[in-house]
Symmetry: C2
Subunit: 338 residues, 2 copies
């Protein structure tokens, strides 16, 4: 009710007539303490509304049980579900999430600096750009880092990511198999290697198969850039029979642009392919052909890597590549020539 000071272990000890260490032990799992004493302490604690101070404890144990989750735009459904999975996974493991949203323009160093002051036990980076800086700063102070769908040429940093290049290749194969000869591509944010890798695999395979990329537009991973990107492509000199977008969200935008802005029939007039397999990709209105990222599995892998390094900082670093799965739906034509 009133602004009274929180009870400390000493207060509880006094009330219960025991030592302060006894209180500490009563609340620690491995505390060597008799059941009888524990009961007595717990009772006194309850009466005072006492809760162990996690900060004080961390000061001694050098463990905060907090993991920093550094992410980009949470409103983007791809990030949202990833954060969700990490958050649940961490909680299951008894860890807490310190959430950092890296907004464009904000200095990453400052964010990292802040996080490190809180002595987090580990860092997970989901954000697009600048993973290198984060990795370096953390490594210097010995905080384990796991990069999710990012990578840097740097020792001592673990990472999990989907096989982007291979995903692009699969899509190229699929499209050519279905008879497409002239295709288009809408990229994500130019600085993001994720998009570049997908494009690289795609482009190379398209060339290998003797097909041609007749249009390429720069996007930004969001719905609107997919929509406007398609418009740009379709009003260009050469119209492709299929468009591969570097993310599902852009593909949804492109698909809507094709149907509603240009009155086209998808997939008869043009096929659209995405990457991620967002829940919305399976919605009846879209039925998007895409590469599925097994989020649960990837996140689990990421967490395992992180935990391993936390428990043994000298463990060797690993980079795990996870293959994506081609999910064919009806945003792509399944026969005929382009």
């Amino acid at each position: 009710m009133t602004r009274t000071k929180r009870a400390s272990s000493t207060d509880v000890a006094r009330l219960a007539g025991v030592s302060q260490s006894a209180v500490s032990r009563a609340f620690s799992a491995k505390g060597a303490i008799s059941d009888q004493l524990r009961q007595k302490v717990r009772a006194a604690a309850l009466q005072l509304g006492y809760r162990p101070n996690a900060l004080a404890s961390s000061l001694i144990t050098n463990r905060t049980n907090m993991i920093a989750l550094m992410t980009g735009d949470i409103a983007n459904p791809h990030y949202a579900r990833t954060i969700n999975a990490f958050s649940l996974g961490l909680q299951e493991r008894g860890l807490h999430v310190l959430l950092i949203s890296l907004v464009d323009g904000q200095k990453v160093e400052d964010a990292v600096e802040e996080v490190l002051r809180y002595r987090v036990d580990g860092v997970i980076v989901i954000s697009a750009a600048l993973s290198a800086e984060v990795g370096e700063a953390c490594q210097q102070v010995g905080v384990p880092v796991v990069l999710y769908n990012r990578y840097v040429k740097q020792p001592n940093v673990c990472s999990v990511r989907i096989e982007n290049s291979d995903g692009g290749r699969r899509i190229a194969d699929f499209l050519v198999d279905e008879g497409h000869q002239r295709v288009g591509f809408i990229s994500g944010t130019p600085v993001d290697p994720t998009s570049a890798d997908r494009e690289e695999g795609f482009t190379r395979r398209i060339a290998q198969r003797g097909a041609e990329i007749v249009a390429r537009v720069e996007g930004g991973f969001d719905f609107d850039s997919g929509r406007s990107g398609f418009a740009q492509i379709w009003t260009g000199q050469r119209q492709p029979s299929a468009v591969f977008c570097a993310s599902d969200l852009m593909a949804l935008g492109a698909l809507d642009a094709a149907r509603h802005d240009f009155g086209l029939d998808v997939p008869q007039d043009v096929s659209i392919v995405g990457f991620d397999d967002l829940p919305a990709a399976a919605w009846p209105s879209y039925q998007l052909t895409t590469i599925r990222q097994p989020v649960e599995a990837m996140v689990k892998t990421g967490l395992d890597l992180l935990m391993a390094r936390i428990n043994d900082p000298s463990a060797t670093t690993q980079t795990v590549l996870i293959p994506g799965e081609l999910v064919v739906r009806s945003s792509t034509r399944t026969s005929g020539a382009g």
Copy 2:
């Protein structure tokens, strides 16, 4: 590189040849210290890679600069954008986010317990159920709480929420104005008062205007329950000419069900209305008529309330109601009778 102990202020002091308090002051904004000394300390700190330990600091100041954000399913776009807004707003104010996802089945008390051990400066509750418990527990220890789109009959708890009942009323008025006489409703999770309030306002107004609710189905706020909910309604005894869904996500599902599962024309055969105004509601495929929640404004209000209480715990509690705005798009017929 190697697992060396992190430098402490004492280490920096030794290297710089000053007292430990000087180091502390060199890193605190209001520290009474000469520029000269500050420079010297900063240089030594840089050399050792020193960063103040936020935990140790909090132990003394009784301020952690951490705010707990207790949320439901982050993958739900409605929560995602709310979390995003809160997260950015808190960061702007120099606060950090401790993210808690309340999964169904998990005991809320445990989550609150954990959070309170970290001595967060405040708590924001976005999650659906059980706000009462959280509010009570926090209040007992004097931690400011703000409920977002939730409320409990409880003193000492601030809240911001959209006028749910009024939103339902507006939709009822709109539909009747457009000539609908037989309408349907798909609810959210039954325990959530948000859905109940929207329904209450809707139902009452529908009755007042002499129209009729011919179908009501229980949903769960997600896409699939909107889809299956619509199926249930449409295969029922009496088909409405318009269906109001307690959330946009369900409305998208219902709309897709109408079009793709039943081959109906929306809005000619049936009108669909949602609530929230998610980004997807404006996508060309959906063009959903809905009630817009001014997320930015609501979040800002919530943050202001929280900050006010943190800075002055004795400040009076407030409940702020924010009106929603009817956004008419093309998922509803704009003339003719039902």
